[in-house]
């Protein structure tokens, strides 16, 4: 005990010596809880693995070159398309005066 005599102040050394004798709960077993937590971690790590694979795929040169070709094709398609739209817009503007003249 920390207080052997009521006359003397309690000693820290005696207190810690006694405290060291205190035993931890012997029935504490965390194995099931740890296994459950580890098993719950696995799906997320699998998901991260898939994401890593996809990101790694985007780092491939051939895929980036493919995307660049697609982007260029889309640009030229839109460019041609814009010309046609422009002509249609001019025609629609002319339509009013032409019809009026007739």
């Amino acid at each position: 005990m920390a207080t052997p005599s009521p006359d003397l102040p309690p000693s820290w050394q005696r207190l810690t010596a006694s405290a060291r004798e205190a035993s931890a709960p012997a029935d504490l077993d965390v194995r099931v809880a740890v296994r459950a937590q580890i098993s719950a971690m696995h799906p997320s790590s699998a998901g991260t693995g898939l994401l890593d694979d996809v990101l790694a795929l985007f780092g491939q040169r051939w895929l980036r070159a493919g995307f660049a070709v697609l982007a260029a094709g889309a640009f030229w398609s839109c460019h041609d398309g814009l010309d046609i739209l422009h002509e249609l817009a001019v025609l629609s503007q002319l339509q009013g005066p032409v019809i009026q003249g007739i």
Binding site: M1, L15, R20, A22, S23, A24, P25, V30, V34, I38
Partner: protein, 192 residues
Amino acid sequence: MPATNQTEPPPDDDLVLVRRAQAGDLDAFDEIMLRHQSVITAMLHRFAGNRADLEDMVQETFVRAWRSLASWQPDRPFVHWLKRIAANMGLEFCRKHQRTPFSRLVEPDEKHDPLENIADSPAQRDLGEARFVLSHLPPEDRALLTLLHLEEMPLAEIAAHFGWSRVKAKVKAFRARQRLKSILTQHGYSLT
């Protein structure tokens, strides 16, 4: 009985199990937990007063060990590596449960936690009292003196666990003891 006096299995026994666990074998990790959880529980029991906190800390220690299992090198015994994780869990616990000006309001509950299911023996009461006195220190001092005075862990080992140099650990221990002295005086204790 201090945890440091407990019999530890030779590192070679752990090596085979750790290698299996590193390959993802959960049964091997289960065996590792079975071997070392009493040592880790005894060590963390110096920090946590109630069973729920203790259980959380032991559990988190093993979960962290599993996560960083790949980083373990066989040049040091596995149990030392595990104790390092546990020591840092203890430090984290001290940081989370740092005394604030409002702590006075919950003082009686901290000394005799109702969740404590262990028989209220004199040793348990003294451990509670020692924890209470140490809780007045800053987190790093509290963790350091808990390991030094209650776990009887050598200062060099504490320094290695917390990533401090030996000189830094000595300086920190000196300052922590000075702070402890004034707290002990306030609580009517003598150091010897």
